[in-house]
């Protein structure tokens, strides 16, 4: 047994260090035996959670858990601006929090639009529908959804989803709170494979700073998209990015 293969159990239990985990995942790519063993372990243990005796959740847990989730979220966002317990900068933190709240409200409409769009994607649920495991009529499925991160401490945000629809890959991008464009400027979306950018749709934001675009990804051959990025371009003809990256995320 190779050294790497011995890490399978710890990988399955999620107890490897981050470095070891990355290494093991690389190993998995090349070791069919480990892949099969991992799959078997997942299958054999799939029902074990149901061994748990139903416990009554403690009163008020939901409020506590969700409060800590959202609180934690805004703390994290504030890290760039202010250290924790730094009372001198407290005002700034407060301002930023309220800014963030309004941004989340604005975000609801496009998010719902995306959800509606995605709910038409039948395979997402067919695949997961326990009562009809055999049915897999493929209409569309989500390959990956990511949140876009602003490059600088800007308040803009957004999301990107890669979808497979009847064998066609679509990239759906939505952004909020981006700066206005001037003249012929557009926001250009790029899919990156290694360092090579591929054009993946462009848009101009509305007055509220929201924008969205759905792009049919039709590049010949096999591609492994590593990242998605949005730049501000002088016009909609750039073959490579000329402006700086405004929002991006790994895929």
């Amino acid at each position: 047994m190779k050294a790497n293969c011995e890490q399978l159990l710890d990988y399955f239990n999620g107890t490897l260090t981050e470095d070891d985990k990355v290494q093991f995942e690389a190993h998995l790519e090349s070791c069919e035996e480990c892949r099969e063993e991992l799959k078997e372990l997942e299958e054999l243990t799939g029902d074990l959670p149901y061994l748990s005796i139903p416990e009554e959740p403690p009163a008020g847990m939901k409020e506590r858990v969700l409060a800590s989730v959202f609180e934690n979220d805004s703390e994290e966002t504030n890290l760039n601006l202010t250290e924790e317990n730094d009372s001198a900068k407290l005002n700034k933190t407060t301002d930023f929090k309220s800014e963030r709240k309004s941004r989340q409200r604005k975000w609801v409409a496009p998010a719902l639009a995306a959800a509606l769009f995605l709910s038409l994607a039948g395979n997402v649920y067919n695949y997961m529908n326990e009562s009809n495991p055999g049915q897999t009529e493929e209409i569309a499925s989500l390959i990956k959804a990511v949140q876009l991160q602003p490059s600088e401490a800007e308040k803009s945000g957004g999301s990107a989803a890669l979808m497979n629809e009847n064998g066609q890959m679509n990239l759906v991008v939505q952004v909020n709170d981006v700066a206005d464009v001037e003249g012929d400027q557009v926001y250009q979306v790029w899919l990156l494979e290694g360092d090579t950018p591929y054009r993946a749709g462009s848009f101009t934001p509305n007055q509220q700073g929201n924008g969205e675009v759905t792009y049919q990804v039709e590049y010949d051959g096999e591609h492994k998209w590593d990242a998605v990025a949005i730049t501000l371009e002088p016009d909609n003809t750039s073959e490579t990015p000329k402006g700086k990256v405004v929002l991006s995320s790994g895929l």
């Binding site: 107890t15 149901y50 959740p57 969700l66 989730v69 649920y125 997961m128 495991p133 989500l142």
Partner: protein, 190 residues
């Protein structure tokens, strides 16, 4: 349709929809809490696990996509990893004890939504109780306690190279025993 909504809800959560997270929470609260409790054996710690899990969901730190299988399975795995992590951070040696209640039937809880869980649970517990003690113990340590490969080899006095095989065998016995009952193994994923 429940599962369809799971996927939808997850996507909304990715878009920072608080309402969606709340719905997802309601849907999974009892299962995830009970599963966490089963691992950490303490109400306070189980709540800590819940908190971690929902923070991860909200931040999108671990991403779900359908090549990862069913959403519920993915969520349960994430919960198990989180619970094992919380357990390890307790820094004490995880005490091993056979959960005696595993061999008992739970009669409480008649909520409709949990009927499937209850049925599965009963069949599973019966099957587990038929395993040899050592096999029950190795499943407990590996799956519910997240003990490392090395620790298991020490605990059972087994060579490192034998551990995987033992675990596999115990799980396979469990599956065979389930198969005889015609219960859970009817599921396509088994």
């Amino acid at each position: 349709m429940r599962e369809r909504n799971d996927a939808d809800l997850y996507l909304k959560v990715q878009a920072k929809d608080k309402e969606a997270l709340s719905l997802l929470y309601d849907r999974y609260e009892k299962l995830l809490y009970s599963f966490s409790y089963r691992i950490v054996k303490d109400g306070g710690l189980a709540e800590e696990v819940m908190q971690e899990v929902f923070i991860k969901l909200w931040k999108g730190k671990s991403q779900y996509s359908d090549d990862k299988g069913k959403f519920s399975s993915w969520l349960l795995t994430m919960t198990r990893h989180t619970a094992i992590d919380v357990l390890r951070k307790q820094s004490k040696e995880p005490d091993f004890e056979l959960d005696e209640r595993d061999s008992l039937h739970s009669d409480e809880d008649s909520v409709e939504d949990q009927v499937v869980w209850k049925e599965r649970g009963q069949v599973l517990r019966e099957a587990v109780s038929k395993l040899k003690d050592e096999q029950q113990k190795i499943i407990e340590m590996f799956y519910f306690k997240g003990m490392t490969h090395k620790k298991i080899s020490e605990e059972f006095d087994l060579p490192l190279g034998t551990v995987k095989g033992r675990i596999r065998l115990a799980l396979k016995h469990l599956k065979t025993s389930l198969g005889e009952k015609g219960g859970v193994s009817d599921e396509s994923k088994l």
